[in-house]
């Protein structure tokens, strides 16, 4: 199993990138009021057929050719099953896929949040050309990050320069901390 929620999401986002997505929206929405955490990854990749969607949480379903197991979505299903949650996968061929995982926020088996700044940094580093939008919220408070804005500021300098990546990691984690503090 994956050590934290950020790593779970990283696996799902890597699927989006492998599906050729140009835009990926990631939402992590905590609600203290309703005692839930909703994590969502929405992409405009090549999508899946209904049949594939049905079998995607099976560890022996994978699109890869190097071997016959695929664990990212199976792990996420394991997490939602263990933490009073639900997993929904909506997909349309040629349009994209949305994976939504919901868990009980105070469930004893829920792993820690992990490092979302690092997770986004890794996604950007692995798929520079893809635009990634990240939204983090606690109840009605929000932090938003969008690589399109960053790329515009950089005017031609690569977003994958190591100094920029490290800055992005810090920027996101600061943003998350601020939202958490307001939420208290």
């Amino acid at each position: 199993m994956m050590p934290d929620l950020a790593t779970h999401l990283l696996e799902i986002i890597q699927n989006s990138i492998a599906a050729g997505a140009r835009n990926v929206c990631i939402r992590v929405l905590e609600s203290i009021v309703s005692n839930t955490i909703v994590m969502e990854v929405e992409d405009d990749g090549k999508g899946m057929s209904e049949e594939t969607v049905r079998s995607v949480t099976d560890p022996f379903t994978t699109s890869r050719t190097t071997r016959k197991v695929g664990l990212g979505t199976s792990f996420l299903k394991g997490l939602t099953d263990a933490c009073d949650g639900s997993l929904s996968i909506e997909s349309e061929l040629g349009k994209g896929t949305t994976v939504t995982a919901k868990v009980r926020r105070d469930h004893i088996d829920l792993p820690g949040m992990g490092d979302f700044g690092e997770m986004i940094m890794i996604c950007i580093q692995g798929a520079e050309e893809c635009d990634i939008r990240f939204e983090y919220g606690v109840d009605e408070n929000r932090f938003l990050f969008d690589t399109a804005e960053v790329k515009e500021m950089l005017e031609g300098v690569s977003i994958a320069e190591p100094e920029i990546l490290i800055w992005i990691r810090g920027y996101i984690n600061e943003g998350i901390e601020r939202v958490k503090e307001i939420g208290l």
Binding site: T66, E118, G126, E163, L165, I166, Y171
Partner: protein, 124 residues
């Protein structure tokens, strides 16, 4: 507190560096970031590679790849040189990653003991 305005300064600095460098980087450092790599600890390895490369301006680009079929040896870091030479480092941790950059990228010496060849020939 960081703001998007910081990026303007960083952009200038990055442009200056690119001008000084002329041409691409000499090495490509590739980390396996499939499920097997991540489960074995590739995230902190990648993190450290990015940090050290930024801090020391090493002559390499750090990139990612998927599963290369040697999951038992993950985390794996491959180093590709300009002439196509290729070294595979296995069971890498963040400290080993920093040493690979210092010894291999900066000084040009392969660290034999970390390589997959050493593990295979050593009968492990």
């Amino acid at each position: 507190m960081k703001s998007l305005e910081d990026l303007k300064k960083m952009r200038e600095a990055a442009l200056n560096k690119v001008q000084m460098r002329e041409g691409g980087k000499d090495y490509r450092v590739v980390v396996g970031m499939a499920t097997c790599g991540i489960a074995a600890g590739a995230r902190p390895v990648l993190n450290r590679l990015v940090e050290e490369t930024a801090a020391n301006d090493y002559n390499c680009v750090v990139t990612q790849t998927g599963c290369i079929g040697m999951c038992i040896y993950e985390p794996i870091v491959e180093v590709f040189g300009k002439e196509g030479e290729h070294t595979t480092y296995i069971h890498v941790d963040p400290d080993k990653a920093a040493r690979i950059l210092e010894e291999h990228i900066k000084n040009g010496h392969v660290i034999e003991e970390y390589t997959v060849d050493a593990a295979v020939n050593g009968g492990k």
